[in-house]
Structure formats: C-alpha cells, structure tokens
Amino acid sequence: MNQNDEKTCPVIANHIKVALVGQPNVGKSMLINSVSNAHLHVGNFSGVTVDKTEVLFDYKGYHFTVVDLPGTYAFTDYTIEERVTHKYLCAESYDLIINVIDSTSLEKNLQLTSELMSMSKDIVIALNMDDEAKKEGIEIDAAYMSELLGIPCVKVSAATKHGIDELIDAVVAQYEAPRQESKLIFSEAVEEEIAQIVEHLTKHKYEARNSYRHVAINLLKNNKKTYEKIHDNPIWTELQPILIEASKHIELHHDSDDIKEAFAEEYSSFNRGIVAEVLKQDVVEEKKTITEKIDSILIHPLFGIPIFLFFMWSLFQLTFKVGAIPMDYIDAFFSWFGDTIGATIANDDIRSLVVDGLIAGVGAVVLFVPNIIILFIGIALLESTGYMSRVAFLLDGFFHKFGLHGQSFIPLVTGFGCSIPAYMSARILKNDRDRLLTLFIIGFMSCGARLPVYVLFSGAFFSAEMAGNVLFAIYISGAMLGLIAAKILKLTAFKGVDEPFVMEMPKYRLPSAKLIWHTVLTKTMMYLKKAGTFIAVASMLVWFLSNYPHNAQLQTEYSAKIEKAVDEHEKITLENSLNSKLLEQSYLGSIGKFSEPLFTPLGLDWKMSVALQAGLAAKEVVVSTLGVLYSLGSDVDEQNKSLSTVISKNISFASAVAFIVVIMIYLPCLAASVVFTREAGGIKYFFYLLAFTSVVAYSLAFLAYNITNMLM
C-alpha cells in the first residue's frame, strides 16, 4: 500500500509543510534565509514580518514548504499580525511546527511554546541565537530539554548557519515518527480538574480527534472551537456543571477571576521549572549589560531626542553630499550615451524618441541612485540595530499628544523608504482607529521616490553647503505636517480612546555587512527595475504626448526665419522659441494648458502641472517628465545641459517652493494607493485619502507660494 502511494504521488509523499512560529524578533525570517538562501526582509524590532510568506526548497529528497508566520507573544490575537498567525495555526493544514526560540531569553519564549504544546501538533524547537547565548555564558542542555518536553530541541544559529542541517534532520525524523503526547504538566489543582473531565469523557466514549486530555485543557481554557463542538453533544448537559466547578476551583487557586490569567501562570511556573533544569549560566551577569549602557545615553530623558535628530540630520547631509559625488559621472555618462546612440540613428523621430524620451527620462531617475542607496542604508541600520524601538520609546510621549501611538513611529519611518511596506507595517498597531490614522499620515513621510525631486530642486536653488540642510528641513517639515494632520484627524474623524503602549525593546545588535548589503541591494534593484520598465514606458509616453501632433506649418515658418538669421545668437533664440511653441501645441501641452488655470494660483506653469499629474502614477515620473519636457523645449544653451541648472533658470523660487509642497503632501503613487486601499479595508478610504491630501496639498502650496512671493 505504502509503495503504491509513492508510485502514484511521489511529490506529495515526500512533501513536508512546516509552519515557522515564534515570538517576535527571534530570527524566524533570518532562519528561513539561511536554510533556503531566500532573501526575506529581516530587522531588529517586533513586527518585521507582518504577513505569512512561503519559501520552498529541497533537502535530502524531501520537498519543504516553510511558512514564515508573523511573530506572536501568545495566542491573544492582540494585533492583526498575531491574528494572522493564530488563524493559520488553527485553520490551515501543515505537517509540523518549528518553534523558533531566542536562546538568550528562554523563559519568556517558552510561554508561547507551552501554548503550542497544547495544540497537539508535531513540534520541533529551534534554539536560535546559540552563538549569542554562548557569548553571554548561557549553556542549554538541549538533549535534556528534549526529554523533559517530549519535543526535539536543536541548537541553531541563523546568523552563523550553525546547526541548520541538524534542525532539518530533526524535522524529517519528527515527521516520520508517530506523534507523542506533549509532556506539559500543570499544578496539582489543575491536573485534578483535568483528570475529572477526562474521566467523564472516557465514561461517555466521546468521539474526538485529539486526546481527551487535550480536549479537557481546551475546555478549561475556554477554547471557543472545542466548546462549539461539544455543545451539540448529549454529554454537554452533564459536563457543564463539572466545568463550571472546575473553573471556579482553578480561579480560586490562582486568586484571579480570569481563567486565561490562571493558565498563563500555570504555563509560567512550568516554564520556570524547565529553565531551572536545563539552563546553566556560567558567567555571573554584569550589573549593566551593554544594551543598558548604550540605552543610558540613547534614551536619556534630555539628550535622547537631540541625539536622534542629529542622526537624522547627518543622514540627510550624507544623502546629499556623498550622493552628489557620483552624480556628475552618471550625468556625463547618460549625455555621452545619448549622443553616441543618437549618432547611430538616422531617423529624426526615432532618434528623438530614444535620446530625448527614453534616455533623458530614465537617466533623470537613475541619476539619483546614489542618494537612494545612502537613504536605504540609513533606514536599514535603523531597522537592524534595534534603535527603531528606542525612538518609538522616546517619541511616544510626543506622538501621543498628536493622537498617534509610539509604535506608529515604525510604519512612519518605514515610510521614508517607501510607502508600500509602511502601509503593511501599520499592522503592528492593534486598534483599527489608530491604524487608520497612521495609514492616513504615512504619505506625509516623504518616500525614497520623492527624494530625487527634492535633491533636484534643493540643488538648483541652494549652494551645496545648504542643500543637505534644506533636504533635512523638507523631511522634518513633512513629518511635522503629518503630526498636525494626525491631530486634526484625531479630533474629527478618528475620535476615541487611546491604545495602550506596551512594546518590547530588543537587544542592540551589530548588523552584519552582508545583511545590510542584501537589504539595500534588494531595494535599490527594485528602484532600478522600476526605472528600466515603468519609468521607461512613461518617459516614452511623455515624449510622444509632447511631440505630437506635428505642426508642419509652424516648422516651415520658423525654418525660413532661422535661415535668414544674421548671427548665431539670433538663430538659437529662434530655435528655442520654435521648440517651445511646438511643445505648447502638443497633446501634453494641451493637457497642461487645460489644467493650467487650476495650478496658476500656485505659481506653477503648465510643465510643472503636467509633471505633478504624471507623478500620480509614481514620483520618479515627476523627475523623468521634467527631464523630457526641459530637454525638448527650453532656452538651454549647449554648455549647460544639466536639468538642475535648467530648472533654476526657468522656475521662480516661489513656484519651486509650491511645487515641493505639493510633492510632499499629495497622493504617494498608484501602487501605494492600491496597498493603502487594501490595508485600510475599503475603496471609500482611498477617496477620503485622495480628497484629504489634495485639499491639504493645494491650500498649503497656495499659502507657500504667496508667502514666499511676499518675502522675496
């Protein structure tokens, strides 16, 4: 029979589906990465993984599907991500659980393990961060622990890849072996009640998939599903009074009116017992750990916030200054590349499409890759060192005044990189109202795609010394506007009680260069990929719209004039005037002219308004559109081709300020809007967001334009 099975379905016979479960920030995603060479996003704070991710790989003739689940402290369904994990474990089919445990914090991690043990599933425990535990002088007797729990325990280190093979071997062995009943033991008082219920179930030969002990524990823990099942059974009438008595006894024993609290205490004392048996710590703990020493400076009541602001300021200074170094080379490369390619194309239209459309557009976006990389490195450091949670701690009091939650800081900072993961990471907020409020504010945190616009404009209007500060100011004022908007929304649309703030502060970790490299590389490649695909198409579209329809009459009229021109200077002036006239009567010109009245009060000409409208698709398109529009028709002389010079010549300072204000506030991009709609839970929220951001962007840009004009 067995052989037959293998013949008909060899794939399924060797397929093991593993659910990876553990408390937040114990290195689940990193473990998957080292097992399978996948590149899941890892960081050092709770809530990096917010949705389940599947990774497939083969090992010793077995096909593995590993499901990386969001970290959960306990099965309390406190946040959305915890609900994802709990629901998956209860409702989906999988063969085995790998419970990942942080070896340096065994007792706390076992709290979840004991809940998993009462689920009657096959479990393998991965004692992760073994290398760190060794450094701290912690020695865990894994063999003895396996025996005590009845669960194989394997020491691993996801960071050094040590013990990974042993872990998979243990998974295979556990998968092949018959299941053992878990060895979770409660206090005498609870064990007595369990025995009584088991006896009753046995007497009535109750039919259950799980063991009677398991059913009894679930009934005592008020497990809804078990209740639903047994409720329809005739034995319920007799069982009910027994259960009520039992619960009363347990609650009395624990001096609590909450059965869940009582069970948590039960688990906790079981875990304390286990830890006392298996864990030895050689070195006496220092009075202050390194983390506490660093914390005494970084979260100092007085210096904490200034230090944080200094870090952010330095990041933006670096972004501008270091980022500017390779920019000239990239710029030179693209104009050389455009000229070289252009020389090989005979057809005027095609050459213009490739050089002025494709290369100018994509080049304008690629130009900012150095800045983007620096920003991403900064964010990756913030995420992976553990500093992120400290800032959440520092800012909670301040954020709270504006109706935001300290933990809102995490999605908001992620928003500086890209709004899409930021919308996703808002799931760490428990309360729906707080989460929606945060979702609405994320857009105010300028994402990486807007950075090119800021770099371009601050470089065009300020000296290199000032530009970094201007960049920092733009970001900070965006964040400030976000806070004010949060306060307004909190007082109007999202009234309600505040969510409690209870958050783990992870240990500081020095991230490996490899980890930073992978995170930054993945994000940068995404940016480049977008430049090569979406932006390339958009640039060609913008080129087409700005070149057609052709106006032959205008062209002949001007070429006659140009021929008659007496000197070079007049010739160039005429050519430029022809180009801008041609542009004005193109499709794009018509669109721009049509919407110009709307943007005139903000001091924006039709080119800028077209760039803003194109920016609704993606913020990179703003720069590429400006690149195409200004490389086609403007008074550019040959020596000064760079876009930033063109902009400083063609756009007044006040208009530029208004332009930046709009970019800062209005809708992030098409893809982000889709994710926002999904995370907020309805299309109506998208229209709220659209209306909210448009109104705020328009009125503030109007103010900014007029105030700047008055001052100048």
């Binding site: 306990a74 709290q111 909450d258 869940k260 609290e261 948590a264 914390d295 959440a392 701690f393 783990e504």
Partner: protein, 75 residues
C-alpha cells in the same frame, strides 16, 4: 497601594496585581508582567510619559497610563 509609575529609576519591585482590562492584562502577561514577577525600572522618558522596565531578560516600554495599572511592592 503602590503602582509601577511611582517607582523611580533603578528600583526593583514585585508585581502584586494587574488592574488592567482583560485584553491588556493578557498582553502584559505574554510579556511576562504577571503576579509575582520581578520588575526593575530602567529608564524614564521626559516627564515620565513612558518608562522602560526589565522583566527577566526582556526590556519593555510602557506608557504611564499602563504602568499605573500595575500594582507593585518593593523587594
């Protein structure tokens, strides 16, 4: 009756009772803040709006409102 928010930096206490609503209580318990747990206060944010405590080996940030719900006693 002393609560956690009244403790100063560096003080060590034992938890007597959690007066939090059900959901929050479970959250605190899953962080190890439960009856008979030892807690050390590590740090205060400005004006005690948020505090950092140590339970076992875990460092936890709590807002003043939540710390007020945790009844404690000096060790």
């Amino acid at each position: 009756m002393k609560t956690l928010i009244e403790c100063n930096k560096g003080c060590k206490v034992i938890v007597l009772k959690l007066n939090a609503p059900l959901e929050l209580k479970q959250r605190l318990i899953s962080f190890g803040i439960m009856k008979e747990a030892n807690i050390e206060v590590l740090e205060h944010a400005p004006r005690k709006s948020t505090i950092e405590v140590k339970v076992g080996k875990m460092r936890i940030a709590l807002r003043a409102e939540e710390a007020r719900l945790i009844e404690v006693e000096d060790i």
